[in-house]
Protein backbone atom coordinates (compact mmCIF):
# COMPACT_ATOMS: atom_id res chain seq x y z
CA UNK A 1 0.00 0.00 0.00
CA UNK A 2 2.83 2.32 0.89
CA UNK A 3 4.58 1.46 -2.36
CA UNK A 4 1.38 2.17 -4.22
CA UNK A 5 0.95 5.59 -2.61
CA UNK A 6 4.59 6.42 -3.25
CA UNK A 7 4.12 5.46 -6.89
CA UNK A 8 1.06 7.66 -7.20
CA UNK A 9 2.94 10.55 -5.63
CA UNK A 10 5.91 10.16 -7.96
CA UNK A 11 3.60 10.07 -10.95
CA UNK A 12 1.75 13.15 -9.80
CA UNK A 13 4.97 15.10 -9.30
CA UNK A 14 6.20 14.08 -12.73
CA UNK A 15 2.99 15.27 -14.32
CA UNK A 16 3.73 18.87 -13.27
CA UNK A 17 6.46 19.18 -15.89
CA UNK A 18 4.38 17.34 -18.46
CA UNK A 19 1.52 19.78 -17.92
CA UNK A 20 3.89 22.71 -18.35
CA UNK A 21 5.23 21.43 -21.68
CA UNK A 22 1.84 20.34 -22.93
CA UNK A 23 -0.02 23.51 -22.01
CA UNK A 24 2.47 25.51 -24.05
CA UNK A 25 1.89 23.22 -26.98
CA UNK A 26 -1.86 23.40 -26.49
CA UNK A 27 -1.69 27.19 -26.51
CA UNK A 28 0.07 27.19 -29.89
CA UNK A 29 -2.39 24.65 -31.29
CA UNK A 30 -5.47 26.23 -29.81
CA UNK A 31 -4.82 29.91 -30.47
CA UNK A 32 -2.46 30.01 -33.44
CA UNK A 33 -3.63 26.73 -34.96
CA UNK A 34 -0.08 25.46 -35.40
CA UNK A 35 1.12 22.09 -34.19
CA UNK A 36 4.61 23.06 -33.22
CA UNK A 37 6.95 20.13 -33.81
CA UNK A 38 9.82 22.32 -32.63
CA UNK A 39 8.28 22.69 -29.18
CA UNK A 40 10.76 20.28 -27.62
CA UNK A 41 13.63 22.30 -29.03
CA UNK A 42 12.47 25.41 -27.20
CA UNK A 43 12.52 23.29 -24.06
CA UNK A 44 16.06 22.28 -24.96
CA UNK A 45 17.09 25.95 -25.30
CA UNK A 46 15.68 26.63 -21.84
CA UNK A 47 17.60 23.69 -20.39
CA UNK A 48 20.86 24.84 -21.93
CA UNK A 49 20.34 28.42 -20.78
CA UNK A 50 19.88 27.17 -17.23
CA UNK A 51 23.00 25.05 -17.55
CA UNK A 52 25.11 27.84 -19.06
CA UNK A 53 24.06 30.41 -16.47
CA UNK A 54 24.78 27.96 -13.69
CA UNK A 55 28.08 26.68 -15.06
CA UNK A 56 29.60 30.00 -16.10
CA UNK A 57 28.01 32.56 -13.80
CA UNK A 58 27.05 30.34 -10.88
CA UNK A 59 23.41 31.42 -11.05
CA UNK A 60 20.95 29.01 -9.46
CA UNK A 61 18.67 27.57 -12.19
CA UNK A 62 15.57 28.61 -10.31
CA UNK A 63 16.77 32.22 -10.31
CA UNK A 64 17.67 32.10 -13.99
CA UNK A 65 14.16 30.80 -14.75
CA UNK A 66 12.59 34.19 -15.57
CA UNK A 67 15.56 35.12 -17.76
CA UNK A 68 15.35 31.89 -19.70
CA UNK A 69 11.61 32.44 -20.13
CA UNK A 70 12.15 35.99 -21.38
CA UNK A 71 14.96 35.02 -23.75
CA UNK A 72 12.96 32.20 -25.30
CA UNK A 73 9.90 34.44 -25.47
CA UNK A 74 12.02 36.61 -27.75
CA UNK A 75 13.20 33.64 -29.80
CA UNK A 76 9.61 32.48 -30.15
CA UNK A 77 8.43 35.92 -31.27
CA UNK A 78 11.21 36.03 -33.84
CA UNK A 79 10.34 32.54 -35.06
CA UNK A 80 6.75 33.61 -35.51
CA UNK A 81 7.73 36.72 -37.47
CA UNK A 82 10.20 34.98 -39.73
CA UNK A 83 8.50 31.70 -40.48
CA UNK A 84 5.20 30.74 -38.87
CA UNK A 85 3.45 33.91 -39.98
CA UNK A 86 4.02 33.07 -43.62
CA UNK A 87 2.34 29.70 -43.53
CA UNK A 88 -0.75 30.56 -41.49
CA UNK A 89 -2.95 30.18 -44.55
CA UNK A 90 -1.00 27.31 -46.08
CA UNK A 91 -2.26 23.73 -45.91
CA UNK A 92 -1.92 22.11 -42.49
CA UNK A 93 0.86 19.80 -43.70
CA UNK A 94 3.05 22.67 -44.83
CA UNK A 95 2.76 24.23 -41.39
CA UNK A 96 3.54 20.97 -39.68
CA UNK A 97 6.55 20.22 -41.85
CA UNK A 98 7.86 23.76 -41.45
CA UNK A 99 7.96 23.48 -37.67
CA UNK A 100 9.37 20.00 -38.03
CA UNK A 101 12.22 21.43 -40.11
CA UNK A 102 12.75 24.15 -37.54
CA UNK A 103 12.99 21.53 -34.81
CA UNK A 104 15.61 19.55 -36.72
CA UNK A 105 17.51 22.74 -37.41
CA UNK A 106 17.59 23.87 -33.78
CA UNK A 107 18.41 20.42 -32.45
CA UNK A 108 21.33 19.99 -34.80
CA UNK A 109 22.68 23.49 -34.33
CA UNK A 110 22.86 22.60 -30.64
CA UNK A 111 24.52 19.31 -31.52
CA UNK A 112 27.10 21.02 -33.72
CA UNK A 113 27.82 23.69 -31.21
CA UNK A 114 27.71 21.82 -27.91
CA UNK A 115 28.21 18.18 -28.87
CA UNK A 116 25.98 15.27 -27.92
CA UNK A 117 27.03 15.02 -24.27
CA UNK A 118 24.55 15.54 -21.48
CA UNK A 119 25.26 18.47 -19.15
CA UNK A 120 24.13 18.34 -15.57
CA UNK A 121 23.42 21.24 -13.31
CA UNK A 122 24.48 20.92 -9.70
CA UNK A 123 22.47 22.64 -7.02
CA UNK A 124 22.85 22.53 -3.24
CA UNK A 125 19.38 21.03 -2.82
CA UNK A 126 19.90 18.25 -5.35
CA UNK A 127 20.37 15.49 -2.81
CA UNK A 128 17.78 16.72 -0.33
CA UNK A 129 14.45 15.07 0.26
CA UNK A 130 11.20 15.83 2.01
CA UNK A 131 9.18 13.27 3.89
CA UNK A 132 5.41 13.23 4.20
CA UNK A 133 4.56 10.61 6.76
CA UNK A 134 5.92 7.36 5.33
CA UNK A 135 6.41 8.81 1.87
CA UNK A 136 9.49 10.65 0.72
CA UNK A 137 9.95 13.09 -2.11
CA UNK A 138 13.16 14.31 -3.72
CA UNK A 139 13.74 17.99 -2.98
CA UNK A 140 14.23 19.16 -6.60
CA UNK A 141 11.18 17.19 -7.71
CA UNK A 142 8.99 18.88 -5.14
CA UNK A 143 10.39 22.31 -5.98
CA UNK A 144 9.92 21.72 -9.70
CA UNK A 145 6.34 20.60 -9.12
CA UNK A 146 5.70 23.71 -7.04
CA UNK A 147 7.02 25.94 -9.80
CA UNK A 148 5.03 24.11 -12.44
CA UNK A 149 1.81 24.52 -10.48
CA UNK A 150 2.48 28.19 -9.80
CA UNK A 151 3.25 28.97 -13.44
CA UNK A 152 0.23 27.06 -14.69
CA UNK A 153 -1.95 28.91 -12.20
CA UNK A 154 -0.50 32.15 -13.58
CA UNK A 155 -1.20 31.07 -17.14
CA UNK A 156 -4.83 30.24 -16.40
CA UNK A 157 -5.25 33.48 -14.49
CA UNK A 158 -4.03 35.39 -17.52
CA UNK A 159 -6.24 33.41 -19.88
CA UNK A 160 -9.42 33.81 -17.86
CA UNK A 161 -8.96 37.11 -16.03
CA UNK A 162 -7.23 39.55 -18.37
CA UNK A 163 -8.13 41.29 -21.62
CA UNK A 164 -5.24 39.63 -23.43
CA UNK A 165 -6.41 36.23 -22.23
CA UNK A 166 -9.93 36.94 -23.39
CA UNK A 167 -8.60 38.00 -26.76
CA UNK A 168 -6.60 34.79 -27.02
CA UNK A 169 -9.63 32.68 -26.28
CA UNK A 170 -11.68 34.69 -28.73
CA UNK A 171 -9.13 34.16 -31.48
CA UNK A 172 -8.97 30.48 -30.62
CA UNK A 173 -12.71 30.20 -31.12
CA UNK A 174 -13.06 32.25 -34.27
CA UNK A 175 -10.25 33.89 -36.17
CA UNK A 176 -12.37 35.95 -38.52
CA UNK A 177 -14.92 36.98 -35.92
CA UNK A 178 -12.18 38.30 -33.66
CA UNK A 179 -10.78 40.32 -36.51
CA UNK A 180 -14.21 41.81 -37.17
CA UNK A 181 -14.62 43.06 -33.63
CA UNK A 182 -11.26 44.78 -33.76
CA UNK A 183 -8.83 42.37 -32.18
CA UNK A 184 -5.33 42.61 -33.62
CA UNK A 185 -5.13 38.92 -34.48
CA UNK A 186 -1.55 39.02 -35.66
CA UNK A 187 -0.46 40.47 -32.32
CA UNK A 188 -2.41 37.86 -30.38
CA UNK A 189 -0.81 35.12 -32.47
CA UNK A 190 2.64 36.53 -31.84
CA UNK A 191 2.11 36.72 -28.10
CA UNK A 192 0.46 33.31 -27.86
CA UNK A 193 3.22 31.63 -29.83
CA UNK A 194 5.97 33.37 -27.87
CA UNK A 195 4.30 32.51 -24.55
CA UNK A 196 4.01 28.92 -25.71
CA UNK A 197 7.76 28.84 -26.38
CA UNK A 198 8.50 30.52 -23.05
CA UNK A 199 6.48 27.85 -21.24
CA UNK A 200 8.57 25.18 -22.93
CA UNK A 201 11.72 27.00 -21.83
CA UNK A 202 10.52 27.14 -18.23
CA UNK A 203 9.92 23.42 -18.37
CA UNK A 204 13.40 23.10 -19.84
CA UNK A 205 14.97 24.86 -16.86
CA UNK A 206 13.21 22.45 -14.53
CA UNK A 207 14.28 19.50 -16.69
CA UNK A 208 17.89 20.70 -16.45
CA UNK A 209 17.60 20.58 -12.66
CA UNK A 210 15.84 17.20 -12.52
CA UNK A 211 17.64 15.40 -15.34
CA UNK A 212 20.18 17.11 -17.60
CA UNK A 213 20.50 19.33 -20.64
CA UNK A 214 21.28 17.75 -24.01
CA UNK A 215 20.46 18.53 -27.64
CA UNK A 216 17.93 15.70 -27.85
CA UNK A 217 16.28 16.11 -24.45
CA UNK A 218 13.40 18.00 -26.03
CA UNK A 219 12.15 15.24 -28.28
CA UNK A 220 11.02 12.90 -25.53
CA UNK A 221 9.11 15.64 -23.77
CA UNK A 222 7.62 16.91 -27.02
CA UNK A 223 6.36 13.42 -27.86
CA UNK A 224 4.79 13.09 -24.42
CA UNK A 225 3.26 16.52 -24.78
CA UNK A 226 1.75 15.41 -28.08
CA UNK A 227 0.28 12.40 -26.32
CA UNK A 228 -1.20 14.71 -23.70
CA UNK A 229 -2.78 17.18 -26.09
CA UNK A 230 -4.11 14.35 -28.19
CA UNK A 231 -5.71 12.86 -25.09
CA UNK A 232 -7.09 16.24 -24.09
CA UNK A 233 -8.27 17.04 -27.59
CA UNK A 234 -6.16 19.38 -29.72
CA UNK A 235 -6.14 22.87 -28.27
CA UNK A 236 -8.18 22.03 -25.18
CA UNK A 237 -6.29 23.76 -22.39
CA UNK A 238 -8.12 22.47 -19.34
CA UNK A 239 -8.02 18.89 -20.58
CA UNK A 240 -4.24 19.13 -20.59
CA UNK A 241 -4.10 19.07 -16.79
CA UNK A 242 -5.87 15.79 -16.20
CA UNK A 243 -4.25 14.20 -19.25
CA UNK A 244 -0.84 15.04 -17.80
CA UNK A 245 -1.78 13.38 -14.54
CA UNK A 246 -3.01 10.29 -16.40
CA UNK A 247 0.29 10.05 -18.28
CA UNK A 248 2.49 10.73 -15.26
CA UNK A 249 0.71 8.27 -13.02
CA UNK A 250 0.51 5.49 -15.60
CA UNK A 251 4.22 5.82 -16.30
CA UNK A 252 4.96 5.60 -12.58
CA UNK A 253 2.76 2.52 -12.27
CA UNK A 254 4.56 0.80 -15.14
CA UNK A 255 7.93 1.70 -13.66
CA UNK A 256 7.02 0.19 -10.31
CA UNK A 257 4.98 -2.85 -11.22
CA UNK A 258 6.24 -4.09 -14.60
CA UNK A 259 9.48 -6.07 -14.42
CA UNK A 260 12.23 -4.14 -16.20
CA UNK A 261 9.72 -1.28 -16.24
CA UNK A 262 12.27 1.52 -16.54
CA UNK A 263 12.67 0.84 -20.26
CA UNK A 264 9.04 0.08 -20.99
CA UNK A 265 7.65 3.19 -19.34
CA UNK A 266 8.89 5.15 -22.34
CA UNK A 267 6.32 3.35 -24.46
CA UNK A 268 3.36 4.21 -22.24
CA UNK A 269 2.65 7.53 -23.92
CA UNK A 270 2.31 5.79 -27.24
CA UNK A 271 -0.27 3.35 -25.94
CA UNK A 272 -2.23 6.28 -24.55
CA UNK A 273 -2.10 8.09 -27.90
CA UNK A 274 -3.25 5.02 -29.72
CA UNK A 275 -5.97 4.17 -27.26
CA UNK A 276 -7.30 7.73 -27.45
CA UNK A 277 -7.09 8.07 -31.20
CA UNK A 278 -8.64 4.70 -31.87
CA UNK A 279 -11.38 5.32 -29.34
CA UNK A 280 -12.12 8.73 -30.90
CA UNK A 281 -12.02 7.53 -34.45
CA UNK A 282 -14.47 4.74 -33.68
CA UNK A 283 -16.73 7.18 -31.95
CA UNK A 284 -16.77 9.11 -35.18
CA UNK A 285 -14.83 12.24 -34.30
CA UNK A 286 -11.79 13.18 -36.30
Amino acid sequence: MELFLQTLLNGLLQSGIYALVASGLALAVGVVGIVNFAHGEFLMIGAFLAWALSAYLGVDPLISLPFAALAVFGVGALTYRVSIRHVLLAPELNQMLLTFGLGILLQNVALMWLGGNTRTVTTPYQGSSLSLGDLSVGGPKAVAFGFAVAILAGLYAVLYRTTLGRQMRAVAQNRRGSQLIGIDVDRVYLIAFAVSCALAAVAGVLVAVLLFASPTVGLVFALKAFAIIVMAGLGNLTGVLWASVVLGVSEALVQTYVPGGGGWSDAVFFLLIFATLVFRSFRGAR
Binding site: L89, E92, L97, L105, A267, R286
Partner: protein
Protein backbone atom coordinates in the same frame (compact mmCIF):
# COMPACT_ATOMS: atom_id res chain seq x y z
CA UNK B 1 -8.11 28.95 -47.29
CA UNK B 2 -10.28 29.59 -50.32
CA UNK B 3 -7.28 29.93 -52.56
CA UNK B 4 -6.10 26.54 -51.50
CA UNK B 5 -9.49 24.97 -52.11
CA UNK B 6 -9.61 26.57 -55.51
CA UNK B 7 -6.31 25.11 -56.52
CA UNK B 8 -7.37 21.71 -55.23
CA UNK B 9 -10.52 21.80 -57.26
CA UNK B 10 -8.55 22.85 -60.31
CA UNK B 11 -6.12 20.05 -59.87
CA UNK B 12 -8.90 17.55 -59.35
CA UNK B 13 -10.51 18.73 -62.55
CA UNK B 14 -7.23 18.45 -64.37
CA UNK B 15 -6.71 14.93 -63.09
CA UNK B 16 -10.07 13.93 -64.46
CA UNK B 17 -10.01 15.66 -67.81
CA UNK B 18 -6.43 15.19 -68.90
CA UNK B 19 -4.44 12.05 -69.31
CA UNK B 20 -1.43 12.11 -67.02
CA UNK B 21 1.58 13.72 -68.61
CA UNK B 22 3.34 10.45 -68.83
CA UNK B 23 5.17 10.25 -72.09
CA UNK B 24 8.32 8.59 -73.30
CA UNK B 25 9.99 11.98 -73.19
CA UNK B 26 9.46 12.38 -69.49
CA UNK B 27 11.39 9.15 -68.97
CA UNK B 28 14.59 10.47 -70.54
CA UNK B 29 16.04 12.14 -67.40
CA UNK B 30 15.24 9.06 -65.37
CA UNK B 31 16.95 6.84 -67.93
CA UNK B 32 19.91 9.17 -67.91
CA UNK B 33 20.19 8.89 -64.14
CA UNK B 34 20.13 5.12 -64.17
CA UNK B 35 22.60 4.99 -67.07
CA UNK B 36 25.03 7.13 -65.11
CA UNK B 37 24.49 5.12 -61.95
CA UNK B 38 25.13 1.88 -63.81
CA UNK B 39 28.36 3.22 -65.30
CA UNK B 40 29.57 4.77 -62.07
CA UNK B 41 31.71 1.88 -60.74
CA UNK B 42 33.51 1.63 -64.09
CA UNK B 43 34.56 5.27 -64.15
CA UNK B 44 38.22 5.95 -63.46
CA UNK B 45 37.77 7.15 -59.91
CA UNK B 46 41.37 7.15 -58.83
CA UNK B 47 42.60 6.08 -55.42
CA UNK B 48 39.45 7.21 -53.63
CA UNK B 49 37.33 4.76 -55.62
CA UNK B 50 36.34 2.71 -52.61
CA UNK B 51 35.16 5.74 -50.68
CA UNK B 52 33.25 7.17 -53.64
CA UNK B 53 31.59 3.84 -54.32
CA UNK B 54 30.42 3.71 -50.72
CA UNK B 55 28.92 7.20 -50.98
CA UNK B 56 27.22 6.16 -54.20
CA UNK B 57 25.84 3.08 -52.48
CA UNK B 58 24.27 5.10 -49.69
CA UNK B 59 22.94 7.58 -52.22
CA UNK B 60 21.07 4.73 -53.90
CA UNK B 61 19.72 3.61 -50.51
CA UNK B 62 18.63 7.18 -49.77
CA UNK B 63 16.87 7.19 -53.13
CA UNK B 64 15.02 3.98 -52.26
CA UNK B 65 13.91 5.45 -48.94
CA UNK B 66 12.81 8.76 -50.40
CA UNK B 67 10.92 7.28 -53.33
CA UNK B 68 9.19 4.71 -51.14
CA UNK B 69 8.18 7.50 -48.75
CA UNK B 70 6.81 9.46 -51.67
CA UNK B 71 4.64 6.53 -52.77
CA UNK B 72 2.93 6.55 -49.37
CA UNK B 73 2.62 10.34 -49.46
CA UNK B 74 0.79 10.09 -52.78
CA UNK B 75 -2.13 8.55 -50.90
CA UNK B 76 -2.17 11.56 -48.57
CA UNK B 77 -0.39 9.86 -45.68
CA UNK B 78 2.60 11.95 -44.65
CA UNK B 79 4.38 9.49 -42.43
CA UNK B 80 7.06 9.98 -39.81
CA UNK B 81 7.38 6.22 -39.36
CA UNK B 82 9.67 5.45 -42.25
CA UNK B 83 12.58 4.78 -39.91
CA UNK B 84 10.49 2.06 -38.28
CA UNK B 85 10.15 0.07 -41.49
CA UNK B 86 13.70 0.76 -42.56
CA UNK B 87 14.78 -0.56 -39.17
CA UNK B 88 12.39 -3.50 -39.24
CA UNK B 89 13.88 -4.46 -42.62
CA UNK B 90 17.38 -4.28 -41.17
CA UNK B 91 16.44 -6.30 -38.08
CA UNK B 92 14.32 -8.75 -40.05
CA UNK B 93 17.21 -9.40 -42.39
CA UNK B 94 19.68 -9.77 -39.52
CA UNK B 95 17.50 -12.38 -37.81
CA UNK B 96 16.29 -14.21 -40.93
CA UNK B 97 19.71 -14.55 -42.51
CA UNK B 98 20.71 -16.78 -39.62
CA UNK B 99 18.29 -19.36 -40.97
CA UNK B 100 18.36 -18.90 -44.75
CA UNK B 101 20.43 -17.56 -47.64
CA UNK B 102 20.39 -13.80 -48.20
CA UNK B 103 18.33 -13.85 -51.40
CA UNK B 104 15.47 -15.41 -49.45
CA UNK B 105 15.97 -13.38 -46.29
CA UNK B 106 15.86 -10.11 -48.21
CA UNK B 107 12.38 -10.35 -49.76
CA UNK B 108 11.01 -12.06 -46.67
CA UNK B 109 12.20 -9.23 -44.44
CA UNK B 110 10.54 -6.78 -46.80
CA UNK B 111 7.23 -8.66 -46.77
CA UNK B 112 7.31 -8.97 -42.97
CA UNK B 113 7.88 -5.22 -42.58
CA UNK B 114 5.05 -4.66 -45.05
CA UNK B 115 2.73 -6.82 -42.98
CA UNK B 116 3.62 -4.98 -39.78
CA UNK B 117 2.95 -1.70 -41.58
CA UNK B 118 -0.59 -2.95 -42.23
CA UNK B 119 -1.15 -2.97 -38.48
CA UNK B 120 -0.04 0.65 -38.19
CA UNK B 121 -1.97 1.52 -41.31
CA UNK B 122 -5.14 -0.07 -40.00
CA UNK B 123 -4.94 1.79 -36.70
CA UNK B 124 -4.09 5.16 -38.22
CA UNK B 125 -6.54 4.64 -41.07
CA UNK B 126 -8.98 7.26 -39.95
CA UNK B 127 -6.47 9.81 -38.76
CA UNK B 128 -5.56 12.73 -40.90
CA UNK B 129 -2.89 15.39 -41.05
CA UNK B 130 -1.20 16.05 -37.77
CA UNK B 131 -2.89 13.24 -35.87
CA UNK B 132 -1.44 10.85 -38.41
CA UNK B 133 2.01 12.42 -38.15
CA UNK B 134 1.99 12.28 -34.36
CA UNK B 135 0.85 8.65 -34.30
CA UNK B 136 3.50 7.58 -36.81
CA UNK B 137 6.23 9.50 -35.00
CA UNK B 138 5.29 7.77 -31.78
CA UNK B 139 5.13 4.39 -33.53
CA UNK B 140 8.81 4.60 -34.46
CA UNK B 141 9.80 5.41 -30.89
CA UNK B 142 7.84 2.43 -29.64
CA UNK B 143 9.25 -0.04 -32.15
CA UNK B 144 12.67 1.06 -30.99
CA UNK B 145 11.73 0.73 -27.33
CA UNK B 146 10.38 -2.77 -27.94
CA UNK B 147 13.49 -3.94 -29.81
CA UNK B 148 15.71 -2.38 -27.18
CA UNK B 149 13.87 -4.10 -24.34
CA UNK B 150 13.48 -7.54 -25.87
CA UNK B 151 15.76 -10.11 -24.20
CA UNK B 152 19.27 -9.73 -25.54
CA UNK B 153 19.56 -13.17 -27.22
CA UNK B 154 16.50 -12.33 -29.35
CA UNK B 155 17.41 -8.99 -30.90
CA UNK B 156 20.65 -7.90 -29.28
CA UNK B 157 19.04 -5.33 -26.95
CA UNK B 158 20.59 -1.89 -26.76
CA UNK B 159 23.99 -3.24 -27.82
CA UNK B 160 22.90 -4.21 -31.29
CA UNK B 161 23.39 -7.13 -33.63
CA UNK B 162 26.01 -8.41 -36.02
CA UNK B 163 24.72 -8.92 -39.57
CA UNK B 164 26.36 -11.12 -42.21
CA UNK B 165 27.76 -8.86 -44.92
CA UNK B 166 25.81 -8.89 -48.18
CA UNK B 167 27.56 -10.78 -51.00
CA UNK B 168 30.48 -11.52 -48.71
CA UNK B 169 31.35 -7.84 -48.51
CA UNK B 170 32.04 -7.38 -52.24
CA UNK B 171 31.64 -3.59 -52.60
CA UNK B 172 30.90 -3.58 -56.31
CA UNK B 173 28.39 -6.40 -55.99
CA UNK B 174 26.65 -4.57 -53.15
CA UNK B 175 26.50 -1.45 -55.27
CA UNK B 176 24.77 -3.27 -58.08
CA UNK B 177 22.36 -4.86 -55.64
CA UNK B 178 21.44 -1.39 -54.36
CA UNK B 179 21.16 -0.24 -57.96
CA UNK B 180 18.76 -3.11 -58.62
CA UNK B 181 16.64 -2.24 -55.60
CA UNK B 182 16.41 1.43 -56.62
CA UNK B 183 15.57 0.44 -60.19
CA UNK B 184 12.85 -1.88 -58.86
CA UNK B 185 11.50 0.92 -56.65
CA UNK B 186 11.46 3.31 -59.61
CA UNK B 187 9.65 0.72 -61.74
CA UNK B 188 7.04 0.22 -59.01
CA UNK B 189 6.63 3.98 -58.83
CA UNK B 190 6.22 4.28 -62.60
CA UNK B 191 3.78 1.38 -62.65
CA UNK B 192 1.69 3.15 -60.03
CA UNK B 193 1.87 6.35 -62.04
CA UNK B 194 0.47 4.54 -65.07
CA UNK B 195 -2.21 2.50 -63.38
CA UNK B 196 -5.53 3.27 -61.79
CA UNK B 197 -3.69 3.46 -58.48
CA UNK B 198 -2.35 6.87 -59.44
CA UNK B 199 -5.86 8.25 -59.75
CA UNK B 200 -7.07 6.47 -56.64
CA UNK B 201 -4.17 7.84 -54.56
CA UNK B 202 -4.60 11.36 -55.94
CA UNK B 203 -8.33 11.28 -55.24
CA UNK B 204 -7.77 10.13 -51.65
CA UNK B 205 -5.11 12.77 -51.12
CA UNK B 206 -7.31 15.55 -52.38
CA UNK B 207 -10.32 14.59 -50.32
CA UNK B 208 -11.17 11.30 -48.76
CA UNK B 209 -14.90 11.90 -48.69
CA UNK B 210 -14.97 12.80 -52.35
CA UNK B 211 -12.86 9.77 -53.23
CA UNK B 212 -15.30 7.57 -51.39
CA UNK B 213 -18.21 9.10 -53.28
CA UNK B 214 -16.35 8.52 -56.55
CA UNK B 215 -16.24 4.83 -55.67
CA UNK B 216 -12.61 4.57 -54.57
CA UNK B 217 -12.31 2.03 -51.81
CA UNK B 218 -10.27 4.24 -49.53
CA UNK B 219 -9.36 1.64 -46.92
CA UNK B 220 -7.97 -0.81 -49.44
CA UNK B 221 -5.86 1.74 -51.31
CA UNK B 222 -4.48 3.38 -48.20
CA UNK B 223 -3.36 0.02 -46.85
CA UNK B 224 -1.93 -0.95 -50.21
CA UNK B 225 0.12 2.26 -50.27
CA UNK B 226 1.35 1.44 -46.79
CA UNK B 227 2.31 -2.09 -47.74
CA UNK B 228 4.19 -1.11 -50.91
CA UNK B 229 5.97 1.80 -49.30
CA UNK B 230 7.03 -0.03 -46.16
CA UNK B 231 8.26 -3.13 -47.99
CA UNK B 232 10.42 -0.97 -50.21
CA UNK B 233 11.73 0.97 -47.22
CA UNK B 234 12.58 -2.36 -45.59
CA UNK B 235 14.62 -3.32 -48.65
CA UNK B 236 16.57 -0.12 -48.05
CA UNK B 237 17.07 -1.26 -44.45
CA UNK B 238 18.36 -4.64 -45.63
CA UNK B 239 20.92 -2.91 -47.84
CA UNK B 240 22.00 -0.74 -44.91
CA UNK B 241 22.33 -3.68 -42.53
CA UNK B 242 24.18 -5.83 -45.04
CA UNK B 243 26.60 -3.03 -45.83
CA UNK B 244 27.46 -1.91 -42.31
CA UNK B 245 27.18 -5.45 -40.87
CA UNK B 246 26.33 -4.04 -37.48
CA UNK B 247 23.05 -2.52 -36.39
CA UNK B 248 21.80 -1.05 -33.12
CA UNK B 249 18.37 0.31 -32.22
CA UNK B 250 19.48 3.88 -31.61
CA UNK B 251 20.95 4.41 -35.06
CA UNK B 252 18.69 2.16 -37.07
CA UNK B 253 15.45 3.65 -35.75
CA UNK B 254 16.88 7.15 -35.53
CA UNK B 255 14.47 9.96 -36.31
CA UNK B 256 16.99 11.01 -38.96
CA UNK B 257 15.90 8.03 -41.04
CA UNK B 258 12.35 9.36 -41.08
CA UNK B 259 13.39 12.95 -41.67
CA UNK B 260 15.74 12.28 -44.57
CA UNK B 261 13.23 10.64 -46.96
CA UNK B 262 10.59 13.24 -46.15
CA UNK B 263 12.91 16.18 -46.72
CA UNK B 264 14.42 14.57 -49.78
CA UNK B 265 11.06 14.03 -51.45
CA UNK B 266 9.81 17.52 -50.69
CA UNK B 267 13.08 19.03 -51.85
CA UNK B 268 13.21 16.91 -54.96
CA UNK B 269 9.56 17.19 -55.91
CA UNK B 270 6.62 15.38 -54.41
CA UNK B 271 4.55 12.78 -56.25
CA UNK B 272 7.14 12.24 -58.95
CA UNK B 273 9.54 9.39 -59.62
CA UNK B 274 12.55 11.44 -60.58
CA UNK B 275 12.17 14.09 -57.88
CA UNK B 276 12.98 12.00 -54.80
CA UNK B 277 15.87 10.29 -56.60
CA UNK B 278 17.27 13.64 -57.69
CA UNK B 279 16.77 15.08 -54.21
CA UNK B 280 18.56 12.10 -52.67
CA UNK B 281 21.54 12.57 -54.97
CA UNK B 282 21.89 16.29 -54.26
CA UNK B 283 21.34 16.06 -50.51
CA UNK B 284 23.45 12.97 -50.01
CA UNK B 285 26.41 14.46 -51.81
CA UNK B 286 25.99 17.72 -49.88
CA UNK B 287 25.83 15.72 -46.68
CA UNK B 288 29.02 13.87 -47.53
CA UNK B 289 30.85 17.11 -48.35
CA UNK B 290 29.69 18.52 -45.03
CA UNK B 291 30.56 15.40 -43.10
CA UNK B 292 34.23 16.08 -43.67
CA UNK B 293 34.06 19.52 -42.09
CA UNK B 294 31.30 19.03 -39.50
CA UNK B 295 31.20 15.88 -37.42
CA UNK B 296 28.02 16.44 -35.45
CA UNK B 297 24.74 17.81 -36.55
CA UNK B 298 24.92 17.53 -40.34
CA UNK B 299 21.13 17.13 -40.17
CA UNK B 300 21.10 20.92 -39.91
CA UNK B 301 21.08 20.86 -43.68
CA UNK B 302 17.94 18.73 -43.75
CA UNK B 303 16.16 21.05 -41.35
CA UNK B 304 17.16 24.10 -43.34
CA UNK B 305 16.31 22.54 -46.69
CA UNK B 306 12.92 21.44 -45.38
CA UNK B 307 12.09 24.93 -44.11
CA UNK B 308 13.33 26.72 -47.21
CA UNK B 309 11.58 24.28 -49.55
CA UNK B 310 8.28 24.84 -47.83
CA UNK B 311 8.63 28.59 -47.72
CA UNK B 312 10.01 29.15 -51.21
CA UNK B 313 10.12 25.96 -53.25
CA UNK B 314 6.92 24.02 -52.53
CA UNK B 315 7.26 22.01 -55.74
CA UNK B 316 10.85 21.11 -55.09
CA UNK B 317 13.55 20.78 -57.71
CA UNK B 318 11.07 19.36 -60.19
CA UNK B 319 9.11 22.61 -60.00
CA UNK B 320 12.14 24.43 -61.38
CA UNK B 321 12.02 22.36 -64.55
CA UNK B 322 8.35 22.30 -65.39
CA UNK B 323 6.33 25.32 -64.51
CA UNK B 324 2.61 25.15 -64.20
CA UNK B 325 2.23 21.40 -64.25
CA UNK B 326 0.78 19.27 -61.54
CA UNK B 327 2.41 18.02 -58.39
CA UNK B 328 3.42 19.89 -55.30
CA UNK B 329 0.21 20.51 -53.40
CA UNK B 330 1.73 19.23 -50.23
Amino acid sequence: MTREMGSRAREAARTVTRRPDFTARSLVPLGLFFGLALAFPFLPLGDRAEYLLQIAFFTLVAGVLALSWDILARSGQVSLAHAAFYGLGAYGFALLSKAMPWFLAMPLAAVLAGLISLILGAVTMRLSGMYFAIATLAFTEVVRTVIQNLPEPVAGGANGLLVPALLGGNARGQYFLAFGVLLFTALVSLAIRRSRLHHAFAAIRQGEETARVLGVSVVRYKLLAFFISSSLAALGGVLYAGKTFFINPLETFSLANSIAPLTTSIFGGLYTTLGPILGATVLRVAEELLHNSVKNGYLVVYGLVLMLSILWLPRGLMGLFKKGKQGGDL
